[in-house]
Amino acid sequence: MLRQINKYLGKLTAHGLISNPGDAQFYGLDDEIYSNRDRIPEVVRALFDDLNINSLLIARPEPLRWAIIGELIRKRPETISPSDSESLTFIHDIPVIRSFDAREIAGALSRRKGCIVEGLGIVTAGSVALEQAFIVFSSICFATFVKYFADMLSALSGAEGSPEPSPEEIAACRGYLSRIAMNPMTPPLPGSLPTGETEIVSAMDAAGKTVVAAGLVDSFFGNISAREGDHIYISQTGSSLDELEGHIDRTAMDGSSTCEITSSSELCAHVRIYELTGNRIIIHGHPRFSVIMSMAGGRLAFGDTRHIGGVPVVAGEVGAGARGLVHTLPEAIKEHQAAIVSGHGTFVASDTSFHDAFVRLASIEEMCFHLCIKAVNP
């Protein structure tokens, strides 16, 4: 249990979600409570007594993310409703409570998987594994970040129902943007197509780690695949892209084995892209500014397309439902080997290498970042 706690504290820090492991209290319960803290506070004991959970994370996000959350809760909302589709699907909304009180937190965690405690940080819980608390924490960080900038862009564009931001609010937003750095150093990826299972799995693992290190995906979202002949290697559902070893399925293009039931929920979209194009590699990330800019300009109707710097933006829900992105994304990706699903994330494809796909993903994000800066500094 302690090994797991330290693993996720390391990931929180490495992903830039918290400044250092000391900013987080992680508790895991089997028949007793384990933690990175020597002493278990009474409020934590009370929460474990009161809730049917086995993991609890209390942490303050790194200063920029925490300041942005501060902007969202300044008007004292009872909940924050995310604007991106993945957060809407999986975390719905985020309760905001005002004090570190066991009863209040228990109430919030009885409604949702995590909450924001004013002046303290984010509190999240899980009932199966420590990973759940980590995932929800990461998801709340992502959802609040995207919402803040999406709302600001919406307000600046004079969208109906969006109050005009004050000069101070605009100045604050510019300040936050000025603190964000793009293009962190990442190790180079192979510049050619991998062949054979060992090489493909190894290349996917490396690509996943690079995408996470570059901040182009959070928590356990995103997926990666590679095609070889009539088979696809694809990351499993709920796998973390920086831990793909042992979590990659090899599945038949024609669906002749149902082992793919554990594959990514976007398997159908990947298959369709491979069927329509000559691509051999697909990476799907949730780069923050790509998601933010995909929502600027208002709601995109299912079936419609618009473009950001030549990259198509389409609508579509997660998965293979009637309004699933499987019906819109594959056609859109044909021409540019890239497309953004509005409010969701970016899909890039390549017929040459993981390096090529990764560069495309990163450059679209950089473009969107600069477009965001431009929109806030007209």
Binding site: N52, T89, V128, A129, I135, E260, T262, S264
Partner: protein
């Protein structure tokens, strides 16, 4: 108290052929939710009664979500003491009966007593009548349900196996939906009750108190279904039914084979989802109001994963037609397919036989025979193996035959088989969700670390699902968070997930307490010896060793502490005192 959360029961005494309609006290309704919780409330009133005593209750109970717009919530629960295991037993069942009960203004049907001859109960709205059952002893259940069609009712019925004393006789609802496990069909037959039919004239749609919130919950759940590869993916259960699991379980080397002597069957592809699709072209079929549609039909009933695997791998049979025929025979006679397949596999091991497709079908047919072997087979594997002097060959826990997930391939599953209150059952905690299907997150299938609490929490959740009338498959995509919102919208009561989990914990603890009063202790929570001694079918990269008995016992100790039990598995005094008000007598 909102009207939607006040249970109306029909209490029927078959001995006197009298019935009364009565509201259940509001505290009981609140503490039990419905379904399984309500069943346990009634079983808890006579915790030591013999399963086949005429006064032993048989309870049909709907959930508070039945008939609402909340997806996959049209199920109900049938509860009684099991004549197979002697434990508490309740089975979630689909079909239209729950909805007909709601339309008739009924939430619970409580049956006790014994009729002087085989009869049927007919309920039209609140009115109860008793009718003679058809005279033919061996009438197939499909033909029986055909005869009921003109009534426009939904019905639960038992077949010839139950009246021949089969201890794993099932109850079938609307011809296709089985309340399979634990032999509740024998309880029904012991009351001389052939069938229970209900027809209601009320609205088929229950109005939620907060329709907007109900719609939000519905939308959230559907979005999660669509995002789930297990449910709506191209190889999900919506496309293949549960046969989608065949390939996966084989690839994980945890498909019980040759009465659990191995964990991999070379011929598994013969009954995999894609092969069934190619040979039978089945269409999806659903319980009312369920968008998942996990059943598969093609003129004939396509068996569920458990049945495919057990009439297949467990009996070393790769003849798909024989599997389907065996399944049909069981459904026509009202027999639980898991127990039937496991019992004949046990007999094959004892006799050192191996079936062909035809001899498998013949052996299944022989369960209904009049000879000594048929009597043995109808006892279930545990009693039969004991009678034949080889009790270790019965692959059951508390007498309930294990389903098609080998515990050596998933240690949470191993622990859950042990702690399940109705015996070796995969559905009480369904750890396959996280150990294999990666939902809500993946856990290490070869480790007991953390599993004690995970299983305890999952058991509590299972009680809630069974008590509100929802389907367990829905919870492989959605969670209690969304269903709690739905329940709040429907009832007007502010349910949080933890409120419901506390109720789940209470009901599960009560089930354990009732079992303790019936003599069950720690020794009954152990697995068959084979799993501690014999390895499974390893392959490079997947090692399937025997389960370490010491580690299993340590996990069991931790589970007892988390559950509030003494080291012998009985509920501690402190936990017993804390049991919910509905169980205080």
């Amino acid at each position: 108290m909102p009207e939607l959360f006040s249970h109306t029961g029909v209490f029927i005494d078959l001995g006197s052929q009298k019935a009364r309609v009565e509201r259940v006290g509001r505290d009981i309704s609140l503490a039990c939710l419905g379904g399984r919780g309500m069943g346990m409330h009634f079983l808890g009133m006579s915790p030591r009664i013999d399963a086949l005593d005429p006064e032993s209750p048989l309870v049909f109970a709907t959930g508070p979500l039945t008939g609402t717009r909340i997806p996959s919530s049209g199920r109900m629960e049938i509860s009684a003491f099991s004549p197979l295991t002697d434990t508490v037993c309740s089975c979630s069942v689909g079909g239209g009966l729950a909805l007909q009960m709601k339309k008739a203004g009924i939430d619970i049907i409580h049956v006790k007593g014994r009729a002087c001859r085989q009869c049927m109960i007919m309920i039209r709205d609140g009115e109860v009548t008793f009718e003679d059952a058809p005279p033919e002893e061996d009438l197939p259940l499909s033909a029986f349900f055909e005869r009921l069609k003109p009534l426009g009712a939904s019905a639960a019925a038992v077949g010839s196996a139950a009246f021949k004393g089969c201890r794993y006789a099932s109850i079938l609802v609307d011809s296709s939906f089985a309340s399979g496990r634990g032999g509740l069909g024998l309880v029904m037959a012991s009351k001389n009750l052939k069938a229970l039919a209900v027809r209601g004239s009320g609205s088929s749609r229950r109005q939620a108190l907060d329709r907007e919130a109900e719609e939000t919950a519905r939308r959230d759940i559907i979005r999660l279904f669509d995002a789930s590869p297990f449910i709506m993916g191209r190889s999900g259960i919506s496309a293949y039914g549960t046969s989608a699991l065949v390939d996966l379980m084989a690839s994980y080397r945890m498909m019980p084979t040759a009465n659990f002597r191995r964990t991999f069957f070379e011929g598994y592809r013969a009954f995999s989802g894609p092969v069934i699709r190619e040979q039978y072209r089945p269409r999806p079929s659903a319980c009312p109001g369920c968008p998942i549609a996990c059943k598969q039909k093609s003129g004939i009933e396509i068996p569920e994963y458990e049945t495919l695997s057990h009439f297949g791998a467990l009996n070393e049979n790769d003849d798909l037609a024989a599997i389907i025929e065996s399944n049909r025979l069981c459904n026509e006679a009202g027999i639980d397919t898991i127990s039937a397949a496991s019992t004949i596999a046990c007999l094959a091991e004892i006799r050192q036989e191996r079936y062909t497709g035809q001899s498998l079908v013949d052996r299944v047919r022989s369960i209904l025979g009049d000879h000594r072997e048929a009597e043995l087979l109808r006892m279930g594997s545990a009693r039969m193996a004991r009678e034949l002097g080889e009790p270790e060959k019965a692959m059951s826990v508390k007498g309930l035959e294990l389903p098609a997930y080998d515990p050596r391939g998933a240690y949470g599953m191993a622990l859950a088989y042990g702690t399940s209150t109705r015996g070796g059952c995969h559905l009480r905690a369904y750890p396959i969700a996280h150990e294999i299907l990666r939902k809500p997150v993946a856990t290490d299938r070869f480790s007991f670390a953390g599993k004690a609490r995970i299983i305890k929490i999952a058991e509590d959740l299972g009680v809630v699902i069974d008590s509100i009338g929802a389907c367990k498959f829905a919870f492989l995509a959605a969670s209690l968070e969304e269903y709690a919102r739905g329940l709040s919208a429907v009832t007007g009561l502010p349910y949080g997930t933890q409120d419901l989990m506390r109720i789940g914990d209470d009901i599960y603890a009560m089930e354990r307490h009732i079992n303790s009063q019936r003599g069950f202790t720690r020794k009954n929570d152990m697995l068959p010896e084979r799993f501690y001694k014999e390895p499974g079918s390893s392959v490079p990269g997947i090692d399937i060793p025997p389960i370490d008995r010491g580690e299993y016992e340590e996990a069991l100790d931790r589970y007892y502490r988390v559950r509030g039990c003494n080291p012998d598995g009985t509920l501690s005094d402190e936990r017993r005192k804390g049991l919910g008000t509905c169980f205080v007598r």
